[in-house]
Every structure is written in structure tokens, then in C-alpha cells.
Symmetry: C2
Subunit: 319 residues, 2 copies
């Protein structure tokens, strides 16, 4: 019988543990928000406790599991299983999370960046099925990515390969990323750019149809709000979505030139902007790539959806 | 006894055939400039003739050779051994060069992009020895690159992976690449940008110490001339070299974020600008990368030098 995969997704607001079958279907899931204020030791206890609990209530032994895959946002040194830094949790500087969890189990524990995990999930169970190589790009508050080469995650020296979000695409841009640089893809094209872009359009005298309260905290300008704007044909919301789509299209063009992949899969919250957004991404990409495309390249939206994080984490046990 | 490697480097001005030993040392070499005006069939005859001639005069049978590696500038579809387009030669649109040469030999013939060949040569015999992963970037009239992942060339779907020269690094730049896009790394940072950059500085009222004839054809502004300018402390030449170094540094930073390689090797004619140039490249890179470097990354100049093209082509037979 195929073994069961166990995935752990450590996000900023939610921490999920799930059992997943070898087709990528969730068998059972536990999630908590209690981890956000936990100490390092507290988080490890919480995670190992939930793994043991979910096994117990599904009548599974540890030996029924293929392994435990953990996906966590931030910089992960893969070979050591160490969180170098993460903005999702307090502390956890150079924290050996993999070994801390491993000490309670005899099956392999794998720790990787959440975008790598999602990429591998998409490759195994989603839009990447049947491909040997692909790039996955997730666009939400930030931009993450994972690279599959020859059926395996390509992680690079530290494990931080695929940080296309930090590649600089417009050095004269005023938009600043959390990394400190201006004009990287993440600064220009994802959730963190939206407050700046909205303020900028308003400053330029453009009128939004979004009925925002007088004292609206612009830092809360979000993808969801702009989706509302898009649906009501708000010109400001639409312009911002097109600006963001332009930079993602440019970013994808750069990925195409760098890696010549047959498939690019887009995930993350901002893909909910739908075809209006995707069309701008694609028209920008094809506008740059023109006659330099010699073999088919597919640009598609993620297949897996909401549970991509924990399913991807579980998929890591198959890498 | 180790087999002998045979390399063929098809450049714009020179076409070289060489025998190379398994340490990367040239045993014998023939070169010609007659290929530039040759037809497709003429080039094939010329190359196969030179291969047979160089074997004969070194008392080698075909079976003494590991194989024949051919490096050629342009877009190469690797799996088919086809030149899709090349700006080095007239014609050769979708030309199956590999099979045309193969028809005269019973040992494997491999056709690849010249930058891939140089990258693999550098990996096998030069600065990349001992590494499993690296990126090679060659900066001359254009910018080419090759990616080594897990001891092998990574070529992507068509074989055009590593075209970092065409990644867009400054979408608002006025500099136009031969590909038609503005602001790609190749447009901003290599030989083809020098005439524009020089004219621009002069137009801004800057005075060059380079003693150019009154009717100097600015299209001939070259890396060698700017090297002369650098040596005589010409402020215009130095500014252009620094501008170019900035963009290469930015390009390397983007490669670092994309692939997290432990080693980046720089080759090509513009590296003759020396430390003044390399220091700007490195300071730009480290200025962007700052606290995001978690494991050592080396940025070094190519070890192989002048014969990199033909030695790299020979190295392809070891991939």
C-alpha cells in the first residue's frame, strides 16, 4: 500500500498539519492560530503534538507515513534544515527546526521554503503533472517561487534559489521592498506595493469608485479591495492591476530567458484578479518574447488552490 | 588511454578546430576565416575537412576521439542539433548542422550554443573545477551565459536557457538590444552599448581625453578603445566602464536571487577592463545582496582565456 504523506505548513496566521494521499488529496487536517505567539520550543511541541494527534485519530502508525514535510516562509538553509530568518514568526533566527521536529520521529523530516513546497506540490499533483521542468511563482503579499529541474526541486547553494521576487526589474523605481532594495519584482508587483500604488494614483488626481471611509488606513489596501474595484469597473483599481500585471509579465519574461522552462505556474492570492490580470501578464510576456519563443511555453494558473501550502509541504516527502 | 576531445568553434570572424586533451590543454589547432562567406554546405565541408586533416597530421583515428563538440553563437535547438538563427553567419535558418557533420563521422557530434560550450569548458577545466553548480557569463559584443546544475549543462526546453543577456533590467532605458527590446542586460552593459553611451556622454558636454579623429565613426567605439581611455585616466571612458559594471553587477545579483549558485565566472573581452571594472561589478552586487548572502558566493574571472571557445566546444563531449 502507498504510504501516507504528512505536511506541515507554517504560515504567518495559520499553522496546518495534514495527511495527504499520494495523489495529493487531503485525508485529514488540523490547523491552529496559536503558533503565532509560540516560542521556538512551543512551536515544535505544537507541531509534533498535532502530527501525533492526526495519526492517532486516523489509526496510523508513524511507519505508515512516507515522511514529514514542513514548509515555512523565509530563508531556509535546506541542507541543514535551519530557518535562517522568517518574517512569519517571532525569533527563529538560525533555528534548526528540522532536527527539533526530527527528534520525535524516526521517519524523514524535511524543511523547505513554503514556495518551494508549493512548487513541488504543483509539480506532483497540479498543473505541473507530466512536465520534467517548471517554474512556480506565487504572487500574494510577497512573491515567492520554486524551480523544478529534471523532476527535482533546484534549491541552489543555500536553498534560496528561485527568489525571483528579489530580482531587480526597475532600478529607478521608487517602490521599496522589505529587503531594502528598490525596484525588485516584489516591490513593484505584489500585495506590498498596493498601498503605495493606490496613494500614487490618487495623488495624480485619479478618482476611485471604491467607497473608502474618509479615515481609511491606506496600508490596508489589499488585493481583495482592488478585486472589488475591478468588479465595479473602478479605473484606479484597474490601472493598479494592470501595472502589477505588467511587472509580473516582465518577471516571467526574465524567467523565460534565464531558464527556458516549458511551463510557468502562477499561484497566490492576486491570481484571484482573474483574466483581466492574467491577460496583461501574458500580453506583456509575449510582447517581450515575440520571435524568441521556439518551443511551446505554457503560462497557467495553479491547480491546487487553497491547501497548496500544506499539500506542497507533504509533497516534499516525495522529492 | 584517455580519448582525445575534438572541438569546433564557429565564430563570426574565425572558425577553429582543435584537438584537446582531457585536462583541457590544446594539442593542435587549425583556424580559418574562409567560413564567413561559405554556404551551409560549404561550412560543413570546411569543418569536416579540418577535423579529418587535424586527426591525420596527429596520427589519430576517428576512434581515438571522444566525440566532436561544436559551439556556435545563436539560438540552438539542442535536442535536434539545429541552428535556429545565428547572427554570425549568412543563412543557417533552422539548419541541422549537427546531423550534417555527423553524416561524416561515427563518433558522437554535439552542437550547442557557444556560451554553453564555454561554460562547460570553464566548469571542466577552469575556474569551475570542483564545483557542482555554477553560472558562466561572457561579456563582449553581446552577453551570453551557461548554467551548470548538478555537474551538467542546464539547457531548458529549447536549449536557450541562460540568456541572461536578454533579461530586462531597466525597462525605461533608451538602449535597444538586437532582439528589439529596450533595457535588457545586453542592451545596457556590453560592447553593443558602447557607441551609444559614448555619444551620450559627449552630448552631455563631457570631454574625453581619447584623441579620436574628427571623422571617427562612433559605431567603432569598442572595449579596446575604452581600455586605452581607462589607462590614460579618461573620465568619459571610466564613466562608461562604471555604467557597464553597474548593470553587470545588477545582472549578477539577479542571477544570484534566481539560482543561488556558489560560483559565477565572468569571461569575454570586456573583462580586460580589469579590476576597475570588476570592482564596480562586485560593489554593485554586494550593495544589492547585502544580508541576503548566507553561504559563500565566488565571483571570478575566467581561467581559460583566448581559446575558451574551442576548448569549451571540445568539453561538450564530456557532458
Amino acid at each position: 500500500m502507498d504510504k501516507i504523506l504528512c505536511g506541515v505548513d507554517i504560515g504567518g496566521t495559520k499553522c496546518s498539519v495534514a495527511l495527504v494521499d499520494t495523489t495529493g488529496k487531503i485525508i485529514d487536517k488540523i490547523f491552529t492560530c496559536a503558533h503565532a505567539d509560540a516560542t521556538e520550543e512551543g512551536l515544535v511541541n505544537l507541531v509534533t503534538g498535532h502530527i501525533k494527534e492526526i495519526c492517532q485519530r486516523n489509526d496510523l502508525q508513524e511507519s505508515d507515513l512516507q515522511g514529514i514535510g514542513i514548509g515555512c516562509a523565509g530563508h531556509i538553509r535546506f541542507r541543514d534544515g535551519v530557518i535562517i530568518t522568517t518574517s512569519n514568526l517571532k525569533g527563529f533566527k538560525n533555528y534548526p527546526l528540522r532536527d527539533a521536529v526530527q527528534s520525535s520521529f524516526n521517519i524523514p523530516v524535511i524543511l523547505d521554503n513554503d514556495a518551494n513546497a508549493q512548487a513541488f506540490g504543483e509539480f506532483k499533483f497540479g498543473a505541473g503533472k507530466g512536465f520534467n521542468d517548471m517554474v512556480f511563482l506565487t504572487i500574494s503579499t510577497g512573491i515567492g517561487a520554486g524551480i523544478i529541474i529534471n523532476n527535482k526541486l533546484y534549491r541552489g547553494a543555500t536553498g534560496t534559489a528561485g527568489e525571483f521576487g528579489h530580482t531587480i526589474v526597475d532600478p529607478n523605481s521608487e517602490l521599496t521592498c522589505t529587503c531594502g532594495n528598490k525596484g525588485c519584482l516584489m516591490a513593484c508587483a505584489c500585495g506590498m506595493a498596493l498601498p503605495y500604488l493606490f496613494k500614487q494614483k490618487i495623488r495624480m488626481g485619479k478618482k476611485s469608485k471604491l467607497d473608502l471611509p474618509h479615515n481609511f488606513n491606506m496600508a490596508k489596501m489589499s488585493g481583495q479591495l482592488l478585486k472589488k474595484g475591478l468588479d465595479m469597473d473602478d479605473p484606479v483599481s484597474k490601472e493598479i492591476i494592470l501595472d502589477s500585471g505588467y511587472y509580473v509579465g516582465l518577471g516571467i519574461y526574465n524567467i523565460f530567458q534565464a531558464l527556458n522552462p516549458p511551463l510557468i505556474v502562477l499561484g497566490g492570492g492576486l491570481t484571484n484578479w482573474g483574466d483581466f490580470y492574467l491577460n496583461k501578464i501574458k500580453s506583456t510576456f509575449y510582447g517581450f518574447a515575440r520571435d524568441m519563443i521556439f518551443d511551446p511555453i505554457e503560462i497557467v494558473i495553479s491547480d491546487i488552490g487553497d491547501d497548496a501550502g500544506v499539500i506542497g509541504a507533504a509533497a516534499l516527502t516525495l522529492d
